[in-house]
Structure formats: structure tokens, C-alpha cells
Symmetry: C2
Subunit: 465 residues, 2 copies
């Protein structure tokens, strides 16, 4: 990459629109550490600047890494190892453009934080439904490019289902204006669907139109212990029957994680004195009070022999406490040795089968391995973690690979996916290849090639060129 | 097309799997009449047969017209004028393969009628939400290829949002197995989204997996007259506030249509003695009784000065009567002269603006033209019909074209679409070209070309090659 090239970028972006040298370190660093190099981090603040930067990079055959909050867990938004690329950060394009409460739509630039849209929608008595732990640093462009999930999917759908329109800068620098706010539009191929979940490989999302939902300001949750894991599906069905559309979340929490969270964060309150290997966390939401529904679920759970113990939130503080505990379930903070991690999706009725079979497989390899599981049960999405013993011992890596292979194949045998909500990025690329038929993989490669024949857009991610 | 070619097809399909000569007439005929020719109507009953037929046609460069129920209104599923093509009817692939009430999914072949899935789901206490008048003859493959809408979109989303997985025969005959039943899957580009709404131009859908919803067996509707059209959005907002997620539909009916329906169908009962230019029809649904909610909407409507008159259904017979009236609003049955028809989508808050402005535009062209409007108000989808006077007079065609142009441009100026739910097919292809930017149109053409470089799949429909 020539100095002239870098100067051209600087000229387009203006003095506040780029970073060099040491200032680029944090952009090259994700949760796994630093990787790759960059001659310049571009920080455009208009779509036109994004377009011009892309054109210059295309003309010079320089790779571009679109970057939002860089909160993904798959090494999606940093350059490939030992490669250099321009990092294009959307951080300065962070304006909320419009909210139309009558239409229930919000329009914003791709660099807005997920939480910013949540807050703004709430001020207008609406709900922006995408929600997960990194809400304060994840940007909406990245949320859409990864089709972020989270705990509200059960009721409201994935991020994909919130998108009504978008503006995208294509890999040749052309700007596609797909900014619409229509609930129905059958006027051609639904192009936005390709960019959703594309992980930056087909273009750079610069603006978005999302649908909003009525604000469901009243929440009430139940934190419970089941009489047995075999009751999991029964309790989900009961929760759906009792709560109907007011059921917002149905989560599975590991006892191990709850103990670690309570230990690490003294502000968190223990919800139940009785300890258990598993807890369920069920939430109902509405604009009116939902305590009665939760009480019904509570009572009927005991009557049916499904609940062994449970507590309901009685006030906002307790409600927040329960969900703060949920937010602190991520295992990376609790275990320092190597974690084998899956973000599994299976048909909902196969969840308990998966959990049983996966445990058997893991124990065949290593009896003492720790198994740590959280789940968005209502979506069939299980975050499955195995912490094997003996890191550093001979054969440890092979052991890990065998466990990965066995559990992957179990997932596929159940019609599932090993990339449910977190995406593929760099880390899952090879394994996901085995999830796809040759026909499907070829279709994806052809699509990628049609949009990006030069292969400059986020190389090394999602699929092989 | 050689005799050998036809013989090859017959051999693949078997004696019950094809039609020739006179027997093909109905397949060449849609609501507008007969068009084009066909050497053979293929009626495969397995995906493998579909694949083999496509391969033979591709090898001989013969066009294929995928056909479901042929209930579309855009000349989507017959050959282009004066052209010959093999019609590939999905009618024999009509098996429901599986229903999983625990997962709330249903799997079926593409030739099943929409109503068959509705009935089967209901037997299992679930709801298959796509629903419109042609439910008894529309097939689900076509419903997905057109992304059918209907009155349940407001609550449940379009057909697109029901699809979890599909199997498709591609234009080169390869079979893509995308049959999944997962709520979350971020393992690559969401390929099924391209085929949804593709109107048979990218491949032939052979099987589908849909999501189901809890059965909402209890319905109650309100049929009312507003104090003024300016109250339309206010009443929608009130209905949402009162009913929340139980609001299933919010429809606008023309007084003219209601009178004609009551006149033509003696079995229909007049809901209200007071006549009006407009009526609203609002439905709440749940598994529990919703009469109380409708009563609240009824009372609050009068209190707020929004309702001038209204009636609620008191029993199943009255409920069915109201929706039968709604089903009979289609104007083609009532007007025998030329109809100018729009299937408009605008942002919901722009509906009344559109209605006012469109009327002004039409009246500038012809004061006495009849304007006939029905609407899925909650989705921003208006079926707008103009019946000008003087068909056959000199200048009539030019008058019609000018009205089309003006109303199209009005729609686009409001950020709308002229193909909201009925699709594009042959009839709207040219007009929709003007709705799209060059960038967007080019992207669609490139996609079409990548999938179907020979241009054999449903030529002349949706977009130009």
C-alpha cells in the first residue's frame, strides 16, 4: 500500500476521520487479542465518504474490514492473521435520523449503539427489540451484519425481522439506497436479506430503518428450579399457554454460573436459597401489569409437579437483579483455561435430547470435563461450553478437536446449526463448511463473488472465496 | 422443441405425470384469459422428477413456467405472449410431510393448498397464518414465491416471515436442500430469502418448512363507521392500545363494495343499517374470549368521538358474516369495464394523505371516475381501483396511462411501492422498473443471471434479463 494511497484516504476523510500508528491498536484488537495490521483506520462520517474510501481501496486492490463495535465473538472485524487491511469504522456515523411512532419505525446511521436505539425508542413509548449483553458497545450496523439474537428473539424475532430498509455501500463503491419503511413490498428480490447476516462480506451497511414494537414497560420474571430436566419442554409449553404473546423469554441458566456470578458481583442478590444445577428464568412483558400471569405460571408449575422451587420478582429491583444475573452467565470471565464453545441451534423439541447426548459424548472423551450450558430455550439456542482438564498436556489439542467434531456432528444429526446467533467470522469458517452441502456452499461463494469479485470485502470471514 | 425432447419428459414423468393438447388449456389460462403455448404440462410428483425435467429443459434451452394454483393477479404463471414453454405444475406434490406441534413447525410439499395447511394446523391446535381469499386453490409454493400477504400480516407478518426452510430445484436442475426448522441460524447468507418473492425466476420450490403460531380460536370483530376519515389513524392506534398483540386485522372497506356484495350474495347479512362511504373492520383474536376487548374498543371509540356507528359480532355466525363480506370486496366481480388497479404500500402514517392526494389526481383527469378502495390499514397496504368512464372513446387508453403514471409517482413520492403484496409478474414489470434505482435493478438482474444464465426460468416475469 503506497503512501499516495494513504494520502488519498486521508484527504477524503478529513483530519478527524482517520487514525494511524499506535492509535490503531485497539481497532486491531478483539476479545482474543491483536491480529493483523492496518495502514489506516478510516472513520468516515457520511455515506459519501464511505463510498469514496471503498472506491479508492477497490482501485488499489486493498482489503477493507468493516467494523462496528467489534463486540462479536468470531474474530469477524479485524484483519486476517498477518494481513494488512484498511479498517473502516462506522463509529462516527452515529446519528439517529428519525423516529416515527405512528409508523413504529426508527431510522439511524449504522454506527449507533444498540442501546441508543433502545433508549430513544423507549422515550417514545416504543420498543427496539434487539437486546444482548454488549448493547452499550455493539453498533446497529454490526448487529444487522451479524443478525444479532439475544433474549428477545422468542417474542420479537431476530434482528433480521426488525429491518425494513437499509442503505449499503457496495464493494465497488456504488451506493444502494434501499431505505424503505414498508411492512409489505413485493417488487423484486428482497435484497436487504442478503446483507443481513453477511458479516461485512457483501458491502458496508451505512443506514438502517427498523420496525419498532409497542413498549412493554411492565416485566415480571420467575426464577425456578424444575423437578427434573425432563420437565423443560413441559414448562415452556405451560409458559406459552399461560402467557401467550406476553411470554418474552425462557432461559436456562447453569447453577455453576449463578454461583460464580453471585461470588464475583456482590451487588447481585441470591434469588433462591436452594441451589441447583439448573435454573429457568421466564419473563412476561406487557404495557399492563403481568404479575397475575406469572403468579399463574408459578402456581400451575407446582400443581403440575414441574417446579421444585421458584421465586417471582416483586419489584423492579428484583426484576433487574434476575436479568443482571442472566447477563453475567458468559463463561469466559469465570474460566481461565481453554474453553470449547458452541452456539448451537436445534429444533426446540430436540433440546433435552441434545443436552443428554452431548454430555454422553463429552464424558466418553473425558469424564471430568466441566460442562457449562446456558440457553435461549424458546428459540432452540443453546450456548454449550466444555472446559476440559489438562490444558498443556500432550494430546490436549487433539482431545479438543475430537470433542468439537463429535458435538458438531451431533448437532447436524439433529438438523441443527453450530452458528445459531453469534455468526461465523473467522473462527467457525472451517467447521461451518462441513455443515453446508456442496450445492449450498457453491451458491454462497457465487453470491460473494458477484458482489465482490476482487475479494476485498472482509476477506477470510464467513466463507472461503 | 423436438418430439424427442417431449418424449424424454414423458419418460421421466410417467403416464400420470403430463398433459398434452386440449388438456393443457386450463394451465395456459389465468384470470385474464389464455396466453402462450406449451408442448407439455409437466406434473411431477417427486423432487427428483422436477430436477430431471429441469435438466432436460436446460439442455434443450426450453423455458419453464413453474405453476402453483395460478391464482396470482399479475400473469405470473403462464408463458409469455406468443411463446412456448413447458409448464411445470406442482399440483401432484401435495403431501403434508410432518407437523411438530412442540416445535410449532409444519413441513409440506409445495403443491399443498394454503387451506390444507390451515386446516391441518388447526387440528393440532396451531395456526398457519398466511390467509387470503384464494386459500382453497393457492398452493404454498406459489404463496412463498410471491410472498403472499392477506389480512393476517398485521399480527403475524408476511408469508416470508413464516418460512424456516425450503427445498429448491435450481435452474440447472441441482437440488438445494435448505430444509431446516430452526428459529436461529447465522451460518451464512440466508439463501431462502432470495427464493421467497422470486416469482419462480430463480428456481422451483419443492418443499417448505413453516413456523406455526398458537391457535387463536376465539375471534371477535367490530364493523364500524368513523366520524371522518381523518380518524382512521386514531382508531388504529386505539385498537393497538386496547388489543395489543391480540389485534389481528384492521381493514378498510368501501361502502360501494359492501352494497354490491350484499346485493350479489343474498346469504350475506347487512351488519349496520346506516350506510356509509367507508367502513372499518377490526378483529381481535386469542385462545380466550376477546369480546371484552372489542367491547372496550367499541365504547372508547364512541367516547373519543371516533366512531359514528358500529356493531360487534355476537356469535360465530355474525363473525363469519363480517369476514365473508370482506372476502367479497374484490372489484373485478362488480365492474365490467376497464379497471385501473393498484396494490399500494405506503408508510402507515401516510395512508390518509395518499387517499386524499390520489383522489385529487384522479379527479383532475376525470371528475366522474369511480374510486374503489380496500385496505389492510395496519400494514399500509391499500388496494386502490379507479374505474374511468368512457371505455372505447378516443383517448381513453391515454387517459388511463396518465392516471397510472400520476398515482404511481404519488406512491413513490411517499416512499411507497406499487407492488405491495400481489407481486409483479408480467403485468407490473415495466412500471416497477421505474420504482427501482439503476443500482438496485442491476443488482437484481445480476442475481437473476447468476442463478439462471440461460434465462429459462419463468421468462418475462418480475425483471428484465
Amino acid at each position: 500500500m503506497s503512501q499516495k494511497f494513504v494520502e488519498q484516504l486521508k484527504e477524503i476523510l478529513g483530519p478527524n476521520g482517520w487514525l494511524e500508528g499506535e492509535d490503531t491498536e485497539s481497532y486491531l484488537t478483539d476479545m482474543f487479542g491483536k491480529q493483523g495490521e492496518t495502514p489506516l483506520v478510516a472513520r468516515p462520517d457520511t455515506t459519501e465518504q464511505v463510498s469514496e474510501v471503498v472506491k479508492i481501496c477497490a482501485a488499489n486492490n486493498v482489503a477493507i474490514i468493516p467494523q462496528g463495535g467489534n463486540t462479536n465473538v468470531c474474530r469477524m472485524a479485524i484483519p486476517p492473521e498477518n494481513k494488512s487491511a484498511v479498517i473502516l469504522s462506522m463509529a462516527r456515523m452515529n446519528k439517529i435520523i428519525d423516529i416515527d411512532p405512528e409508523c413504529s419505525t426508527i431510522t439511524a446511521e449504522a454506527g449507533c449503539f444498540v442501546q441508543s436505539l433502545q433508549d430513544y425508542a423507549r422515550e417514545h413509548n416504543r420498543l427496539f427489540s434487539p437486546d444482548w449483553g454488549a448493547r452499550g458497545s455493539a453498533m446497529i450496523g454490526g448487529a444487522v451484519a451479524t443478525n444479532g439474537g439475544g433474549q428477545n428473539v422468542f417474542r420479537y424475532g431476530t434482528t433480521r425481522e426488525q429491518v425494513l430498509g437499509m442503505e449499503v455501500v457496495l464493494p465497488d463503491g456504488q451506493i444502494w439506497d434501499g431505505m424503505r419503511a414498508l411492512r409489505k413490498d413485493n417488487s423484486g428480490y428482497d435484497l436487504k436479506q442478503l446483507f443481513i447476516g453477511s458479516e461485512g462480506t457483501l458491502g458496508i451497511i451505512t443506514k438502517l430503518v427498523f420496525k419498532l414494537h409497542p413498549n412493554q414497560g411492565q416485566h415480571c420474571s420467575l426464577f425456578g428450579i424444575l423437578t427434573g430436566m425432563s420437565e423443560l419442554m413441559n414448562y415452556l409449553e405451560l409458559a406459552q399457554k399461560v402467557g401467550g404473546d406476553k411470554l418474552t423469554a425462557f432461559e436456562l441458566l447453569p447453577g455453576l454460573g449463578v454461583e460464580k456470578a453471585l461470588n464475583r458481583y456482590p451487588a447481585l442478590q441470591r434469588p433462591l436459597d436452594q441451589k441447583s444445577d439448573w435454573y429457568v428464568l421466564v419473563r412476561f412483558s406487557d404495557w399492563e401489569n403481568v404479575e397475575e400471569l406469572v403468579t399463574t405460571l408459578f402456581e400451575q408449575g407446582f400443581e403440575a409437579g414441574i417446579l421444585a422451587n421458584a421465586v417471582m420478582s416483586q419489584n423492579l429491583e428484583q426484576e433487574n437483579n434476575l436479568w443482571e444475573i442472566r447477563d453475567q452467565m458468559i463463561p469466559t470471565q469465570y474460566f481461565k483455561s481453554r474453553l470449547l464453545k458452541w452456539d448451537v441451534s436445534v429444533p426446540i423439541s430436540k433440546i433435552t435430547h441434545f443436552l443428554d447426548s452431548a454430555e454422553n459424548l463429552v464424558r466418553e472423551h473425558q469424564q471430568a470435563a466441566i460442562i457449562y450450558v446456558t440457553g435461549h430455550v424458546g428459540d432452540g439456542n443453546i450456548h454449550y461450553t466444555v472446559i476440559p482438564e489438562g490444558e498443556g498436556d500432550p494430546g490436549f489439542d487433539e482431545l479438543c478437536n475430537r470433542i468439537y467434531q463429535d458435538v458438531d456432528e451431533l448437532v447436524w444429526s439433529l438438523g441443527g446449526s453450530i452458528a445459531a446467533e453469534h455468526g461465523v467470522g473467522q473462527l467457525l469458517k472451517s467447521r461451518v463448511r462441513n455443515q453446508k452441502s456442496d450445492v449450498e456452499y457453491s451458491m454462497m461463494q457465487q453470491l460473494r463473488h458477484i458482489f465482490d469479485p476482487q475479494g476485498i470485502m472482509n476477506p477470510g470471514k464467513l466463507i472461503d472465496s
